[in-house]
Symmetry: C2
Subunit: 214 residues, 2 copies
Amino acid sequence: MDELRVSGAIIRRLPRYYRYLEELMHEGVERISSQELASRMRVTASQIRQDLNHFGGFGQQGYGYKVDALYEAIGKIMGIDRVTHIILVGAGHLGQALANYTNYRRRGFMIEAIFDKDPARIGTDVQGITVRDVETLEEYVAAHNVDIATITIPKEQAVLVADRLVKAGIKAIWNFAHTDLEVPKDVAVENVHLSESLMNLSYKLKEMQDSREA
Amino acid sequence: MDELRVSGAIIRRLPRYYRYLEELMHEGVERISSQELASRMRVTASQIRQDLNHFGGFGQQGYGYKVDALYEAIGKIMGIDRVTHIILVGAGHLGQALANYTNYRRRGFMIEAIFDKDPARIGTDVQGITVRDVETLEEYVAAHNVDIATITIPKEQAVLVADRLVKAGIKAIWNFAHTDLEVPKDVAVENVHLSESLMNLSYKLKEMQDSREA
């Protein structure tokens, strides 16, 4: 098994497998065939077999996949078999929404500090975490083990904060700001550009309307 | 120009072009060469030429692209040259974050009603919009022109609300719930699965750590 050679497309599908496997575990399902899984996930059974074969022999001919073993293996591949220490810059509504989201915690994603520059927010409590002054960001990062920094602030400030985070040694940024961050090659960035997602939906809607009218 | 034949990959890149063109307009740039645009967007000039050629002859050999014309054309292709009427189900932090996001409004995305089932939220004001009882959802949709419904509620309720929205005639859903919605083929869905995005980042981080250690 050579994880690093697996294509980006498969990797991007893994979280979805993980979510379905989690649901199966909650339902008490121990084994599932590629056909059954395919029908739940509305993909083809052959795609499932192809995808999962990359990660070793989880499926047994005639027995299907062992749900918990596959779930664990995918979690391990994605690096979520351990605690991931997260900080959050921006205690506005979006930051608070993320801090409130308990789904992460089950997966070991722990938001451990929240920063803001607004004096009205500094010192307030968000999900049991006291909001810190963003001026103390470097100090915090130096003293703690931080895996991921989440940025939920406007784009002009986001660029500056990202620079500070990189200089402080952060290697992964979850970026919600409406801009592409320029970071060194050894820093991982995952962008969530919400307005681009909304524009994509707008396009799909328009395309469907056009084809109804045609 | 046959928009419908354009591949999904190009379409998904359009919002990013749109964002960069908007920045250029703010900077007062009237024309830009594919080389300059490529260097800003950190893609190749040939990709830009290939992508934009699909939408007709915006570039003039030796003169570059006319920024405002290209911006307008892409907006039109994506269906954001008009007002898009949006409702939002779920007035929690994420719903409030979306309602607060002024970027949409500039692009004609208007959140015009917000619904929640929590009596403590119903009747409160979010960005000048009074939160309505989710029980009145169908009534509202019947009486108003609604293009997109945004769902920011937990997954169990999301499935039920999506069914109600579809029955009420909604043709586009922006889904933030941690589940895949089952909708008829003529309903467009755009998912924002935040935990999957976080897992993708976790994977990238782990991959980089592994390659550093190797």
